[in-house]
């Protein structure tokens, strides 16, 4: 191949990659830029107009953020999201860790059959569970409560968490546990002091996956928290704002960015675990 053709080929390769990356980034950049622009500017010109005077920082304001966090109630929704997401991550992973350990290293009748059922439950669509559960929730007063949604996310997250952790614990060497038992360790000690510390990377990936899944969830919150504003998470509040504000882009863009900030932070800070968690979680229904 001649030098000219080779250079041309390299050039078009870079052009294609950079073009695709821009295509993927621009929608989010537009959102971010608009969220800092005053209302009038957002309505008068496209967000790309700011690049006419890239060094003029007076065209950016924090007003939109202040307004959505206070008047639009996103501050409260942010705290609600945190209240929902942390126990909804810790509870299923703790339960799944004990169950996964038992499935991997303890003998009991029905072990294989029960685990095959767990594998089957992986892909059951949430929609199959909503009506009966909502009825029970309404009867016992669990709908519109944090406890109710923690347990719901626990139920929906469990099959995948048990599946992943059982496979991980099962891949640890057998001698390790035999040695521990010979030294007189109890099963609980072997689990907490041996199995858990060795599986920190898996637990981290799983925790990030469940965290992002719960933080970004709309359907489960919509069903079990319904219209209760006191407990509504960001996704619920944001989707309600889309219905009520419609074209108020200066507010919607700021609100959307508030809802995205935490997952984006996790993505940039813990990218390796984030990617692993998402990939492992792809089997989930």
């Amino acid at each position: 191949m001649s030098i000219v053709r080779q250079v041309l080929a390299r050039f078009s390769l870079h052009l294609a990659i950079i073009g695709l990356c821009l295509l993927w980034l621009l929608p989010t950049v537009g959102l971010l830029v608009s969220s800092f622009r005053p209302k009038d500017a957002v309505f008068a010109t496209g967000w790309w107009a700011v690049f006419q005077f890239p060094l003029d920082f007076s065209q950016f304001r924090l007003d939109n953020y202040i307004q959505v966090l206070t008047a639009q109630g996103l501050g409260r929704a942010f705290l609600n999201s945190l209240t929902i997401v942390i126990p909804s991550t810790v509870i299923p992973i703790t339960i799944a860790a004990f169950a996964g350990y038992a499935f991997a290293w303890m003998n009991f009748p029905g072990r294989q059959v029960l685990f095959v059922i767990v594998v089957g439950l992986l892909v059951v669509p949430l929609q199959m569970t909503l009506i009966p559960l909502l009825r029970i929730y309404n009867q016992v007063g669990l709908s519109g409560t944090f406890l109710g949604i923690w347990l719901a996310h626990t139920g929906y997250g469990l099959p995948f968490a048990v599946y992943l952790l059982r496979n991980f614990f099962g891949s640890l060497p057998k001698d390790l546990f035999e040695a521990a038992y010979l030294d007189g360790a109890s099963p609980l000690t072997a689990f907490t002091r041996l199995a858990l510390p060795l599986s920190v990377p898996s637990l981290a990936s799983l925790a990030i996956f469940q965290f992002i899944w719960v933080w970004n969830d709309l359907l489960v919150a919509l069903i079990y928290l319904g219209g209760t504003e006191k407990v509504a998470p960001l996704t619920l509040r944001l989707s309600a704002m889309v219905q009520s504000l419609g074209q108020d882009w200066h507010l919607l863009t700021a609100a959307a960015f508030v809802s995205m900030a935490v997952p984006l932070l996790v993505f940039f800070a813990l990218q390796r675990y984030f990617v692993r968690g998402i990939l492992a979680g792809s089997v989930k229904g």
Binding site: A16, L79, F108, V123, L158, L222, W249, A256, V283
Partner: protein
């Protein structure tokens, strides 16, 4: 201000309660098992460890699934047995026919483009030094919720009349090209494609990362040997790369198909199924909450489950095959 402080405190208390409660439960259970005679402990302890998981799985997944199946044969209020009437409605009504057509569009287009683009990008970035950066950019939307993505794209699709400046990126581009601005989410000729594009934007990164890992697992020697033999890059791609990553493509495509089948958030937020954009999952939500028809809603859910059963069977078969190797 005091309201904020009290809410922060309540948040912390709720988090502590949830986290401490679950730790206490297992320590307590293990302690109780320890009180049993030595001989019995190994027989009981496994049940203490898997008991909570089984109870929750039974209550939150197994029981409701069976109950929904049962309810799908009853009327709106779950009082009168109606046989297959709900299924008949699900499969024949005009509303559901639109939803089925749209889900088919979602499945075909989102799978083709997410997997196709994911593969193309994975192949391209494999040849440049800034690969990690480029991959991060494409993967980034995976961190964004469907609701957040819906706002981002509603803004991209924003419409203004032709005589004023466009503030939506897409209409600005087509006006600059000399066309008239379009109502992307309103115009029935394009609105479904506009929604599916959001799904593709979200899913491509996922496909790319998995396919990229599969590409890197192809032994370099095979590719080198082919190049030495004078095969073109095009031929190498179709005759070596594609066959060697075939099974990964199948797994990725299955995942995207399931996601397309269950598409809900994007449609719910962006159009709520108006103007011919209805999908199965959004219709189920409407039957459940707007029309309070639990019979029809259940039948729709069962149809979703039936569509996913083959994947469930394949998962179980693959798991059992793995176990035999172990």
């Amino acid at each position: 201000m005091s309201e904020l402080v009290s809410q922060v405190l309540a948040t912390l208390a709720a988090i502590l309660l949830g986290v401490a409660g679950i730790a206490g439960l297992f320590l307590g259970l293990d302690f109780l098992v320890g009180l049993l005679p030595q001989r019995l402990q190994p027989r009981v302890r496994p049940w203490a460890y898997i008991g909570p998981a089984l109870l929750i799985l039974g209550f939150y997944l197994v029981y409701p699934t069976l109950q929904t199946l049962y309810l799908s044969f009853f009327d709106a209020k779950s009082e009168q047995f109606v046989g297959l009437q709900n299924y008949l409605w699900t499969l024949t009504s005009p509303e559901m026919r639109i939803a089925f057509r749209n889900n088919l569009l979602w499945i075909v287009l989102m799978t083709t483009f997410s997997v196709g683009l994911g593969l193309v990008i994975a192949v391209l970035v494999d040849r440049v030094r800034y690969e990690p950066l480029a991959k991060s950019v494409i993967f980034l939307p995976m961190a964004i919720s469907f609701v957040g993505a819906s706002v981002i794209w509603r803004f991209v699709y924003a419409y203004k009349p032709a005589n004023v400046p466009q503030i939506g990126l897409l209409n600005a581009v087509i006006v600059a090209l000399g066309e008239r601005p379009m109502g992307w989410l309103v115009d029935t000729a394009v609105n479904n494609f506009a929604l599916i594009a959001v799904g593709i934007w979200l899913q491509t990164g996922f496909c790319m990362v998995i396919l990229s890992a599969a590409l890197k697992a192809i032994p370099r020697e095979i590719l080198e040997a082919a190049r030495v033999d004078g095969a073109s890059e095009w031929r190498i791609f179709w005759q070596i790369t594609v066959p060697m990553i075939g099974s990964t493509v199948a797994v990725v495509a299955t995942t995207v198909i399931i996601n397309a089948l269950k598409a809900f958030d994007i449609v719910f937020v962006m159009t709520n199924g108006t103007r011919g954009t209805e999908v199965i999952a959004n219709r189920m939500y409407k039957e459940m909450f707007s029309f309070l028809n639990f019979g029809r809603a259940s039948a729709i859910a069962v149809i979703l489950l039936l569509a996913i059963v083959p994947v469930m069977a394949a998962n179980i078969r693959r798991f059992q095959a793995q176990e035999e190797i172990r």
